[in-house]
Amino acid sequence: MMKPYLLVDFGSTYTKIIAVDLENNYVIGTSKATTTVTTNVLDGYDKAFERLLRNHPEIKECNISGFSACSSAAGGLKMAAIGLVEELTVEAAKRACLGAGAIVNLVFSHHMTKREVKKLVDTDIDIILLAGGTDGGNSECIIHNAKKLRDAKISVPIIVAGNKDSVDEIEDIFENTDIEYYIVANVMPQLKKLDVKEAKNIIRKIFIDKIIEAKGIKKAAEKLGEVIMPTPEAVLLAAELLSQGFENEEGFGELMVIDIGGATTDVHTIGEGFPKRTEVIMKGLQEPFAKRTVEGDLGMRYSANALLSLVSDFEFRKYFEEDDKCNHNIAKSLERRRENIDFIPETKDEEEFDKAIAKICCDVSISRHVGHVEVVHTPLGNMYYQTGKDLSDIKYVIGTGGVLINNSDAKNILRSVNKKSNKKLELRPNNPSILIDRSYILAGMGLLSQKYPKKALKLMKQYLL
């Protein structure tokens, strides 16, 4: 008797279900329906589930062996990151948020001003991460900011992940107030050393305990069991598992996952990215082994307009195929996509235009994600500073998300991650193999990896093409 296991993703647009047979290790089927968080989130789920049953009569409702669910509905998990120095604790705080699958909507450094606090209060934020100072280092700034947050009677949870020495005083500040706060390990305990594990764990815990309810997904959690993480975190976990392998099941080694969406482009890389040569010296904050960056100005629809402020008309045209004879009106075509976010290309020219947007999203997001080198001329010869990860030896680049997986030319689009002659100082991949998540299972496999890592790994190897 087949006992399907269901992996559910309450996405911003669609609620997706993947049914897997864990005994015979294959994907039975997938289905999707529009997400319905504003009314009852279960409506969308039920619809998707009905579709699944209709297309796969072999699935019997009573035989379902279990569920796991993730969510990025209702705007995903929105966070504010606060730190001291921009390149150090502010960056560490941002990386903790991103690594936990959140979107970082606000960032503050040094002493917060009244205006900044007002902005924080006025913005729709789910969790605040407060950092600042190494352990034993500056505690005056984080204490100042904690007082500001208390005085503003902040109503969302605050995670304190700063200088250990400031913890007692901050607890005194928050005591006897209604502020919900959590104290965890410093995100930058020593200079340039990154430690985001505890912060990430607490973010996930708050997400499960509180945010789910606020986002209207509680009903789903009651019916299906816990909604255990934000969707981007599930993708990052899947990528990590696929890279590292599990027990005797080998992984793919260093890899990259790209998800081009309507509003953002997410890039995940797994790997240390250490310098490949001896005359290179690392600069800046330590990089997370599993790194995620999110580009809010790179997307196919909502943020299409922003593209023109990133690339000139002239540069934009370079992204069209050589045999594309259409004289595209770039500004107009972008505006049309921003205004009509459900826009689906119908003609060949529209398709080509979408492809060019996707290539730009890919190219620019990689420029920002990868490390870069700078030459220093010393009396002992040329030396190099490396900031960020060296990803030149990455083996696989995997495309996921609606835009890529439905595009017949996805592999061609993803080739824009490659090393470029005009971007020599960027440590971009050197002709990696490209795979596409055609069945859209990555997030689901991240969920599955929490209970059945080996099966999730095998499925990924099978279904990424």
């Binding site: 001291l84 930058m188 200079l191 010296i281 220093v376």
Partner: protein
């Protein structure tokens, strides 16, 4: 425990003295934050802010230290580190120059302690105890 930031400024890769300074100061009860070679003024300053350092000890052996150190004090003030002690030592100027003149110039640039070539770190250690305590 008092924190000090040490490092080698500019396009200078001399690491041996830097390691010795790190060792001696750590052995003598300081929390040493060593940002290593090829460090910029911003690297020193950012490190000092986050770690709440009381002094910055800049090394330079390749002769261009005077250029690399220009406006260091002003940058510190700009970053809110008005009280921080600034030390510099090594071959900090081009060629052989009268040290008294060199010292005068660096004092004018806002450095608190300036050391000529060949000074033992123990001397700076005594000054450090005097200036910021242990």
């Amino acid at each position: 425990m008092k924190t000090v930031v040490i490092g080698v400024i500019g396009a200078d890769v001399h690491a041996v003295g830097n390691k010795i300074i790190d060792y001696v100061l750590s052995e003598n009860g300081y929390n040493v934050v060593n940002i290593g070679v090829l460090s910029s003024q911003e690297d020193f300053i950012n490190a000092a802010i986050e770690t709440n350092a009381k002094a910055i000890l800049i090394s330079s052996l390749y002769g261009h230290g005077e250029m690399d150190c220009r406006f260091m004090r002003e940058q510190c003030e700009e970053a809110g580190l008005e009280k921080i002690k600034l030390y510099v030592g090594g071959n900090i100027v081009v060629g052989k120059q009268n040290f008294k003149d060199v010292e005068k110039r660096f004092k004018k640039m806002g450095f608190d302690r300036i050391y000529p070539p060949g000074v033992k770190i123990e001397e700076a250690l005594e000054n450090l105890k005097e200036d910021i305590g242990i």
